[in-house]
């Protein structure tokens, strides 16, 4: 049906597709994204793996065209690099546990809140979310440095006799990292929590479950999908942490992100850097699958959270 109005422009746009089937058109619509992911994600990573399988070279970042697994062996055998891997995972686990536990609590408080309080709590989470990593990390320096606010306050009040070095130190890194992932974790949990019917908790209380118990028995199983997403995100980002260790950590705080940067851009030893990356990715992938499986046994369907 042709229309003699300005719509005819769109009609002409449409006519080449008129004969295509619905799913063909659907494919066409999704093709920009698919193409994008292929070109900007899949291909670069193929390159990454390829480089990791090349020989190291003195004068070049890597020896093109060669093939060896020497870099992988080197990474796996190096005590130094093992230490780095361990540090990364330890930071990941600690930050994740802290973040998810606190996030669950805060999400619950937000769920139960109304009106202004609810908006305030959400604001307190959404604003840091939209703030750049640099600021979020750097903000802890004036607070936690030896000559910073916290120390000065505690010294003045008399609770401390000498300044405590939280920054630069591993404790500072953990605090900073938790601060960074907390908003994401909280929102992941909250988005599921907000769909839970409060009536269920009332029913549990009516049947004799106290406050804590009614949460554990009724709410927890339902928010497992949100907790799973929160855990996975927190874990992935904490293992791959860069800014917190760099800015808030001491020399001994060396996660693999910093190591990769050094190997890549300072030492120009690309095979090692990429091999380390690939190993970390594999380990992380395995961990994430583990998290997904373990948590999934406690409750509902994760696809509800996405």
């Amino acid at each position: 049906m042709s229309v003699q109005t300005p719509d005819s422009v769109l009609d002409r746009l449409w006519s080449p597709f008129e004969t295509q089937s619905g799913s063909r058109r659907s494919l066409f619509l999704m093709s920009p994204l698919i193409l994008f992911e292929l070109l900007i994600f899949v291909v670069p990573f193929a390159m990454l793996v390829r480089i990791s399988l090349s020989e190291q070279s003195q004068s070049l970042p890597y020896a093109e065209g060669t093939f060896t697994i020497a870099s992988y062996i080197e990474v796996l055998q190096s005590g130094f690099l093992q230490g780095i891997i361990v540090y990364s995972f330890r930071l990941g686990i600690i930050a994740t546990v802290l973040a998810v536990v606190l996030a669950t609590f805060y999400a619950y408080a937000t769920w139960r809140a109304d009106g202004l309080l609810k908006s305030a709590l959400l604001f307190s989470v959404v604003l840091p979310l939209l703030t750049t990593l640099v600021i979020k990390t750097y903000a802890w320096v004036p607070l936690l440095a030896p000559n910073g606010t916290a120390n000065n306050l505690l010294l003045a009040v008399g609770l401390l006799s000498a300044p405590v070095q939280v920054v630069p130190n591993t404790l500072g890194v953990v605090i900073g990292q938790v601060y960074i992932v907390f908003p994401y974790a909280m929102l992941a949990i909250y988005s599921v929590l907000s769909t839970v019917e409060w009536e269920l908790v009332e029913a549990a209380r009516d049947l004799g479950a106290g406050r804590a118990r009614s949460f554990v028995e009724v709410v927890l199983p339902e928010i497992i999908p949100g907790i799973t997403v929160a855990t996975i995100i927190s874990f992935a980002w904490s293992v791959g942490a860069y800014s917190a260790p760099a800015l808030l950590g001491a020399g001994s705080d060396r996660p693999f992100a910093l190591e990769i940067q050094e190997q890549m851009l300072l030492n120009f030893n690309w095979p090692i850097a990429t091999a380390l990356s690939t190993i970390m990715l594999v380990l992380m992938f395995v961990s994430i699958v583990l998290i997904y499986v373990v948590l999934g046994r406690f409750g509902g369907d994760v696809s509800n959270a996405a």
Partner: protein, 269 residues
């Protein structure tokens, strides 16, 4: 009568979330406060009150250029991510295909990969293509993160959309493109606005990938902030931070006016 332990429990609960509330906002507040410091030290409470660092900032061409860069990249990312996110989400919703189920994990994957790895990988890749340190490179990298967000926001928007409206449109003689432009777009524009805003802000504040993919000319605000920090801790960074926080707050306010905060919070997760 209400048990004491009950009251204690409630008090502890309140104390808990207030403490977290303070912990979330205090660092930002401190940073903003230090930007007004009269001295060059990064102390809180700041020693004296002065706008000198603000003046220094506006005089510093590096920062001004960084702002330009950030906005250029931000707009670019918004355009790219919004276009891809909307078309893909729409294509998915028009028909529930298996391709869609396959697409979701692929789209999410970049978000889970440590940004350092992404940054370094793309650096190598773009160098091979001659795109290193270019605006395009940074835009594409940021889109890796922004597009999933737009995609999911629009996906849930399209899910809530009353598809009967489309049927009505077609029944009245509009071809599918017209239907999209005249029937669907007006009804989902809230979702589009929100996801575009979010894409912009994500790009604005993305730091790690930009660190690797920009150079002296093209560095964005977070990158310049980071580099300045590495050299010396001065309140200039606080000034920049204040502006960034204000921009985020403004963006939030704009989104909150379009929809309420609860909605935005849920979309972000």
């Amino acid at each position: 009568m209400r048990l004491e332990s009950d009251r204690l429990g409630i008090a502890a609960f309140r104390l808990g979330y207030v403490a977290i509330f303070v912990a979330m906002l205090l660092p930002l507040f401190i940073v903003i406060a230090t930007s007004f410091s009269a001295s060059g030290n990064l102390q809180f409470p700041p020693e004296g009150f002065s706008l000198r660092w603000y003046r220094a900032f506006f005089a510093d061409i590096q920062w001004l250029r960084a702002f330009d860069n950030s906005f250029i990249v931000g707009i670019g990312t918004t355009v790219v991510a919004t276009f891809m996110g909307i078309t893909a989400a729409f294509g998915l919703e028009a028909r529930n295909s298996r391709l869609g189920d396959l697409l979701t994990p692929v789209v999410i994957l970049p978000l889970l990969i440590p940004p350092v790895i992404l940054g370094v990988t793309l650096l190598v890749y773009f160098s091979a293509l001659g795109l290193q340190s270019s605006y395009l490179g940074i835009v594409l990298a940021h889109s890796l993160w922004a597009t999933p967000l737009v995609f999911f926001v629009m996906q849930s928007v399209f899910q809530r959309f009353d598809w009967e409206l489309r049927d009505a449109g077609m029944d009245l003689g509009a071809n599918p493109i017209s239907v999209f432009v005249y029937v669907i777009l007006p009804n989902v524009k809230n979702g589009i606005v929100v996801s575009a805003l979010l894409a912009f802000i994500i790009s604005l504040q993305e730091f790690v990938m930009a660190l690797f993919l920009s150079n002296f000319q093209t560095q964005t605000i977070p990158v310049l902030a980071w580099n300045s920090l590495r050299q010396s801790l001065t309140p200039t960074v606080s000034v920049v931070s204040t502006f960034l926080v204000l921009i985020s707050v403004a963006g939030l306010a704009a989104a909150a006016l379009a929809v309420n905060l609860d909605f935005v919070a849920k979309r972000l997760s």
